[in-house]
Every structure is written in structure tokens, then in C-alpha cells.
């Protein structure tokens, strides 16, 4: 027991000194579990997030926008892979992670359970959803687990193109015909609240927060990050002449921040618990594609074994 306490003290001292924890370092089981939960959820979100955007590849309004959308979705796949690798350094296999996703044991960000109904939604996803993700990910570049922090640095470098392409789409529509502007406003109306829910419950109600902050897995609280996102997004909406759908949104001189209206946590919980508009579709699609790809994995294994046998025979 004393030995374990010493390990824990040394571990916490390292974190307090802003040193990174690396895969082979001693760490409390709870820290490992917490990280596996958070990183895998993050990885699954990147991968599931390809679906609402993929919905518009064949219908992108120009070759330019199609190329950009393809590149963006390819990035999301890459981000998922960086994160799965980071998660695997904690001793969990890729297969196990996918299995947890398929059985519902692991979650992904609720935002991807909303549909992308119009082209403006692709703009709103880039501007708001990626924008919110960036605020969170910039903060996570300083997370205490080395492989996770390094994946975040790489992801942040790539992600800012995503937000800019989304905002460009919104700006074009907002400055277009009245119908186009209405389409942009409609997308903002539907994506605003789910986007600010992405930061999770208020600090007082957040189940995993206290431990995560102590261990510096999370560096800033849900509410701090949410506030930062709102503060910078309001001005961007004004510039392109769109209205954020929150009548209570108001600059608070005293706080130096925007005040905002009540978030509908009932909706948040409904979507998390599987009752969002697209939960079933997203998961079924992922499972189906994974199953349909089984022959590729089998063929690749067979080929690798054959090559190995050939080499051994030649040696």
C-alpha cells in the first residue's frame, strides 16, 4: 500500500511539474481508464464525423468544393487514426476499440447524430462543429499524456483549414441570393445549440471533470471552453450578417464575455442516449462498412503470409 502511495505521489508530482506521462511510465489504473475512454471517444468522433460530410461529396456545388470536401474528410480519417494509435499505447487493441464502438460501450460526440440536410450544413459543420472542436483541441495540446498531446498538436495544425472552409461556405451563401442567405441562416439555427452542447455538461454537473483536471487530462473546464467558443463566434456571425439563434445572447461588460441562454440538456441527454435523429444510421453504417471490408483484411493477411513464406523459402 505504501509503495503504491509513493508511486501515486511521484506520478502526481510529475504532472504538477508539467512533465508528460509516457506509455511506459507508471500510472494509476484510473488514469489509464479515463484516458482510454476520452481518447477512444475522440477517435470514434473523428471517424463517425466523416458520415454527415460524406453525405455531400456527390452533390458538392462545384469541383473546387468537392475536392476540398474530399480532402477534409480524408483529414478526419487521419485524425481518427492518430488518436487510435495514441489510445493503443495504453494497452488496448484497435479491434477492442472498434468493438466498444459497435457494442455502444464507447461513445462518440453527439453532434454527429444530427443530419446534414443542405449544402449550408457543410458550411455550418466546418465553421461551428470544427470551430468548437478546435477550441477544445487547442486546450488538449497541453494534456498530460504525451502521445495524446502530440496527436493534438498534429490535429490542430490541420484543423484550422476545416473551420475556414466552412466559414467561407457560410459567407458565400450569406452574401448570395435571399434564398441562399435563408439557407445559411437555417443551418446556423439548427447547428448552433448542438455545437455549444459539444463542450459537455456545465462544470457543476460534469461526471468526469474533477479527476481529469487534477491529472491534467483536461486543462480547462467545459464552461470555460464553451465561453471561449461563443465569444469568438458571435463576431464572425455578425461579419457575414447572420443571427445566432439565442435571444438571450448579450455582451456582458462586467464579465467581459457574452451571456447566453439556457441549454436544452434534455435534448443533449436524449441524443447521447441513442435517441438523436441519426444515431442508429451512423452506427449501422459503420458496422456495415466494417463487415463489408472483412475480405480486404483477410486478403491482406493472406498476402503478407504468402510473401513471408516465399522469403523464407528463398533464404
Amino acid at each position: 500500500m505504501t509503495a503504491l502511495l509513493n508511486f501515486e505521489e511521484a506520478f502526481q508530482a510529475k504532472i504538477d511539474a508539467e512533465e508528460k506521462i509516457e506509455p511506459r511510465d507508471w500510472m494509476p489504473d484510473e488514469y489509464r481508464k479515463n484516458l482510454i475512454r476520452q481518447i477512444s471517444q475522440h477517435a470514434h468522433s473523428e471517424v463517425i464525423g466523416m458520415q454527415p460530410e460524406g453525405n455531400w461529396i456527390t452533390r458538392a456545388p462545384s469541383l473546387r468544393s468537392k475536392l476540398i470536401l474530399l480532402a477534409k474528410i480524408q483529414d478526419e480519417a487521419g485524425h481518427g487514426l492518430y488518436l487510435y494509435s495514441a489510445c493503443e499505447t495504453l494497452g488496448v487493441s484497435r479491434e477492442e476499440l472498434l468493438n466498444q464502438l459497435h457494442t455502444g460501450k464507447a461513445k462518440y460526440s453527439s453532434i454527429f447524430n444530427y443530419p446534414t440536410l443542405t449544402w449550408a450544413d457543410i458550411g455550418a459543420v466546418g465553421w461551428l462543429v470544427d470551430g468548437a472542436a478546435i477550441v477544445n483541441q487547442v486546450s488538449l495540446q497541453r494534456t498530460s499524456y504525451g502521445p495524446y498531446a502530440r496527436a493534438m498538436v498534429r490535429i490542430c495544425k490541420e484543423e484550422s483549414f476545416h473551420q475556414r472552409q466552412g466559414y467561407e461556405i457560410m459567407a458565400h451563401l450569406a452574401l448570395g441570393t435571399p434564398e441562399q442567405k435563408a439557407m445559411a441562416q437555417d443551418a446556423l439555427n439548427r447547428w448552433w445549440w448542438p455545437s455549444i452542447m459539444m463542450f459537455g455538461p456545465h462544470d457543476a454537473d460534469s461526471a468526469h471533470s474533477a479527476k481529469s483536471m487534477k491529472w491534467k487530462i483536461k486543462r480547462e473546464s467545459n464552461d470555460e471552453l464553451r465561453q471561449r467558443f461563443i465569444d469568438k463566434t458571435v463576431q464572425q456571425a455578425e461579419v457575414i450578417g447572420l443571427t445566432i439563434p439565442d435571444p438571450k445572447l448579450k455582451w456582458n461588460e462586467q464579465r467581459g464575455h457574452y451571456d447566453y441562454g439556457e441549454i436544452n440538456w434534455e435534448e443533449f441527454n436524449q441524443v447521447i442516449n441513442g435517441n438523436g435523429p441519426c444515431n442508429k444510421q451512423r452506427l449501422e453504417h459503420h458496422k456495415r462498412v466494417h463487415d463489408e471490408g472483412a475480405w480486404v483484411r483477410e486478403a491482406a493477411i493472406a498476402y503478407a503470409e504468402k510473401q513471408k513464406a516465399k522469403q523464407q523459402a528463398a533464404a
Binding site: S85, S93, R94, E95, E158, A294, R297, A304
Partner: protein, 97 residues
Amino acid sequence: MNKNDNQGPLWEVFIQSKSGLPYKHAGSLHAMDKEMALQNARDLYTRRNEGTSIWVVLSEQIVASNPNDAEELFDPMNDKIYRHPTFYTMPEGAKHI
């Protein structure tokens, strides 16, 4: 490779960002063989011209020191400051040394 693990072994990816510079660890990936590892590394880690050359190495082939041995391995160097050029006092007026 066990039956449930059908993702292939893990590889570590090292990228040289410019010719002449050292290779730097970029991350890891799964692949069935070395050709696939190189292809995947290119798709995954160099989508924005990050590299001029790539190394891939099977993760299990890497021998790593244990963090617990850090003291034993590295502390003996602490008292050998004479290995640094700033340790030495140069005569006044000597140039280019």
C-alpha cells in the same frame, strides 16, 4: 497474429522533413507488410508535404529503455561538466576558440 487481431502489426513512422535533417518520429500505424506500411505512412503522415523521405519500423523491433532506469542511465553525466566547452577558461585575448 491472433484471429481477433486482424489489423496487422504496429509500425512506427519516422519522417525526414527536408533532405539533410534527422528523421523524426511522427506516429504509428497498422499495416500487414512493409510496402503497405510505407503506403499508409505516406497517406497518413504526409498529406501536406511534411516529408521528403519516410522510415517505417516494426514497433516490436524497437528496443526502448525503461523510464524507471532513467536515474541509473543518465544521472552519472550530471557531474561531468568538463564535457561541455563552457567548462574551460580561455586565456584573455585568444580568438576563434
